[in-house]
Amino acid sequence: MAETPILEVTGLKTHFHTPEGVVRAVDGVDFTLMPGRTLGILGESGSGKSVTALSVMRLVADPPGRIVDGRIMFEGRDLLALSPAEMRKIRGGEISMIFQEPMTSLNPVYTLGDQIAEVFQIHEGMNREQAWAGATDMLEQVGIPNPESRVDDYPHQFSGGMRQRAMIAMAIACRSRLLIADEPTTALDVTIQAQILDLLLKLQEDMGMAMMLITHDLGVIAETSDDVVVMYAGEVVERLGIDTLFDDPRHPYTRGLLNSIPRLGEKFTRGKQPLEEIPGTVPNLIDYDPGCPFAARCGQAMARCHTERPPLFKLNPAHYSKCWLSEADAEGRAGVAAAG
C-alpha cells in the first residue's frame, strides 16, 4: 500500500483545565486511516475516544479544553493550522460526524428537510428548490420510507433508528471523504443497530468514504472495522488489524477486554465458566502517574510498569503495542521512527 493516508494523527494531546486539575483526556494518540477503510476506535468511557474525534473535527470547547500538542493531517493538510473559516468548510463538507444520540444533534424546531437542505445550500451553493430535492433524495438513500412526505417531518416524529438514518443522510449529503461515527448505534436496539451498521457499510461501499467508528462494543468493531485502535486512559495502547485483534492481541488490556465479554454459544461449547475479570476501575485522568496507566489493573505488571511509561512498540508495520511485554518482540518504536 503506497497510498497516502486520508487521516494521520501523531502525538495528539488534548487536555481540559478544570478546577480539580488538568484532565489529560487525550494524552498521546497516534493512528493512520487509509482512504476507503474503516478504523475502529475501541475504548471504555473516559478512555478519550470521543475527545479524539472532537479534536479531529476541532470541536473541543476552549476553554476548558485545548489541543496542547500533536498533528492532525487530513489529505496532506494540517487541520490544526487552518483558520476557523477554513475549518468550517471542511466540517460537514469533507469530514462529517454522527453522534450517539441523534435527538441532541438535530434541531427540534426545523423539519428534517430544512436541516438537510441547509447542508446543500451552504456547502454546494444550491438554491432552495435544488436543496429540497437533494434532501428528499438523501432520505431515500438512507432507507427512510416515503421520503417525499417524511422530509416535512420534525425530528420528534421519527423513531430513534429513523433519526439516526436522518443524521447519516445529513452527514453524507456532501459526499464527505471521511465520516466520523461516535457510538452511532449505542442508543439503539439490537435489530435497529444491525440495520444502521448495514447501512453505513453499504454507503461506504457506494461512496468509497473512509470511516472512523468509535465504540465500546467489540462486536460492533468486528462487524465494521478493518483496523483498530484500542484506547485506555487517554492513550492508544494497541493498534492492529481486525483479524489480529481477535487472533493475536498483545496488550494485557486488549486481551482482558476480549476475555471479559460473554460470547453467544460459548457456554454450550465449553461449558459455563466465570467471565475473566479485569479488576478495579478505569483511573481518573487527573492524577498523573509516571508508569503505565493500566499497571494497577494488570495481572502481568512488573516493577518497571509502575515507574516508567512504555512507548508504543512496533511489532510489525501493522501492529503496535504500548506495553513493556512487547519490547522483546518489537522492531522499533512509533514516533521515534522505525529507524530510531
Binding site: 471504555e44 468511557s45 423513531s159 433508528g161 429513523m162 436496539d189 439490537v190 435489530t191 435497529i192 443497530q193 444491525a194 440495520q195 451498521l197 448495514d198 457499510l201 465500546h216 462494543d217 467489540l218 462486536g219 460492533v220 468493531i221 468486528a222 462487524e223 465494521t224 472495522s225 478493518d226 481486525i242 483479524d243 485483534l245 481477535f246 487472533d247 482482558g256 477486554l257 476480549l258 471479559s260 465479554i261 460473554p262 460470547r263 453467544l264 454459544g265 460459548e266 457456554k267 454450550f268 459455563k272 466465570p274 467471565l275 475473566e276 475479570e277 479485569i278 479488576p279 476501575t281 478505569v282 489493573r297
Partner: protein, 335 residues
C-alpha cells in the same frame, strides 16, 4: 446470620405469572380524558422454578421492565395473577403485600439513580434488615454482607457518590440481599457499567446465587449476558412473550422468527465478522399504543402469511418444554 426463614412453602414454582396485563392510560386535554392505552404488558405467562434463573429478554419498549415492576406491585396491574409461592401478589392487601415484599427484592439498572445520595451505605444496605428483624447487631451484619459483595466493611460510613459505578451496583446488590429474599428481580443490572466492570458484576451475581440460593428473574436486552447467566429464557416482543425454552434450546434452536432475528442481529466479536454479511430484519418496532393485529411481529416478519395478520397466535409446546407463539407451527401440526 440470624434470619427468620419460616413460612416457606416447600414445593411448586416460586413464581407463576398468569395472563398479566398492564395498560397505561394516555390522557389528553383539559379534562385529562383517557384517549387510548399503551399496551405495555398484554397477557404474559411464565413460571420460575425454585432456584432457577429466568432471563427475560427483549428490545426497549417490549414491556420487560414493566413486568419486573408489576411483580413488586410498583404499578397496579390491569389484569392477571402472579402467584408467589402460591399466593397472588396482585390480589394482596397492604399488610400481606408488605410481608411478601421482604422475600422479593429488586436490583435496578442505574446505581446512580437508585441509591439515595443522603444516606450512608450502612443505612442503604441495613435499614430494611434492621426494621424487619430488630437485630441489634445489624451493623456487623452489614459489614459481613459488604464483604460478600466485594466491598470493605469500612465502606459503610461512606455516601454513594464516593463510589464508582461498579461499586455502586455492588451496594445495590448488597441491599437486595440484606433480607435474604427468595426471589431477586434484576432489571438490566449491568447495562450501565463499563465493559471491563460488567464481568465483575456478572460473576458476582452468579456466585451469590450459588451461595444464597435465591430464584432469579434477570431482565436484559443483552442476549449474550442472558445466555451466560440464565437457565431458562423468555423472549418478549411488544408486550407479549413469544418464546420460552431452556437457555440451550432457545439459543441453539430458536423457533420464533423474532428470536431468530434477535440472535442474528447480535454483533459477533470474532475475526471475519465483517466479511460475513448477514440478513437484517427490516422495519421499526410498532407502537404499543396501537399494536398490530394478529401476530404483533407480522409487520417485520420475513415469513408472515395471511393468518398472521388476522389471528393472534397462541403459545404452544412445539418441543418438550419449548414454547412458541407462532402460526408457522400451527401449519406444521395441521399438515
Amino acid at each position: 446470620m440470624a434470619m427468620d426463614t419460616t413460612e416457606t412453602t416447600a414445593d411448586g414454582p416460586i413464581l407463576e405469572v398468569r395472563d398479566l396485563k398492564m395498560y397505561f392510560p394516555i390522557r389528553k386535554g383539559l379534562l385529562k380524558r383517557t384517549v387510548g392505552h399503551v399496551h405495555a404488558v398484554d397477557g404474559v405467562n411464565f413460571t420460575i422454578q425454585r432456584g432457577e434463573t429466568l432471563g427475560l429478554v427483549g428490545e426497549s419498549g417490549c414491556g420487560k421492565s414493566t413486568v419486573g415492576r408489576l411483580l413488586l406491585r410498583l404499578y397496579a396491574p390491569t389484569a392477571g395473577e402472579a402467584l408467589f409461592e402460591g399466593r397472588d401478589l396482585m390480589a394482596m392487601q397492604t399488610d400481606e403485600l408488605n410481608r411478601a415484599r421482604r422475600h422479593i427484592q429488586i436490583i435496578f439498572q442505574d446505581p446512580f439513580a437508585s441509591l439515595n445520595p443522603r444516606f450512608r451505605v450502612k443505612e442503604l444496605v441495613g435499614e430494611a434488615y434492621r426494621l424487619h428483624t430488630g437485630d441489634k447487631d445489624w451493623v456487623a451484619y452489614v459489614a459481613d454482607l459488604l464483604g460478600k459483595v466485594g466491598l470493605q466493611a469500612d465502606h459503610m460510613n461512606r455516601y454513594p457518590h464516593e463510589f464508582s459505578g461498579g461499586q455502586r451496583q455492588r451496594i445495590g446488590i448488597a441491599r437486595a440481599l440484606a433480607l435474604q429474599p427468595r426471589l431477586i428481580i434484576a432489571d438490566e443490572p449491568v447495562s450501565a457499567l463499563d465493559v471491563s466492570v460488567q464481568a465483575q458484576v456478572v460473576n458476582l451475581l452468579d456466585s451469590l446465587k450459588a451461595e444464597f440460593g435465591f430464584s432469579f428473574l434477570f431482565i436484559s436486552h443483552d442476549l449474550s449476558v442472558v445466555e451466560h447467566i440464565a437457565d431458562r429464557v423468555a423472549v418478549m416482543y411488544l408486550g407479549e412473550i413469544v418464546e420460552t425454552a431452556s437457555d440451550r434450546n432457545l439459543y441453539q434452536d430458536p423457533l420464533h422468527p423474532y428470536t431468530q432475528a434477535l440472535i442474528a442481529a447480535v454483533p459477533k466479536a470474532e475475526a471475519g465478522a465483517k466479511r460475513r454479511r448477514k440478513e437484517v430484519v427490516r422495519g421499526d418496532v410498532p407502537s404499543p399504543i396501537n399494536p398490530p393485529s394478529g401476530c404483533r411481529f407480522h409487520t417485520r416478519c420475513p415469513r408472515a402469511f395471511a393468518r398472521c395478520r388476522s389471528e393472534r397466535p397462541r403459545m404452544r409446546e412445539e418441543k418438550p418444554d419449548h414454547w412458541v407463539a407462532c402460526h408457522l407451527y400451527d401449519e406444521a401440526e395441521h399438515g
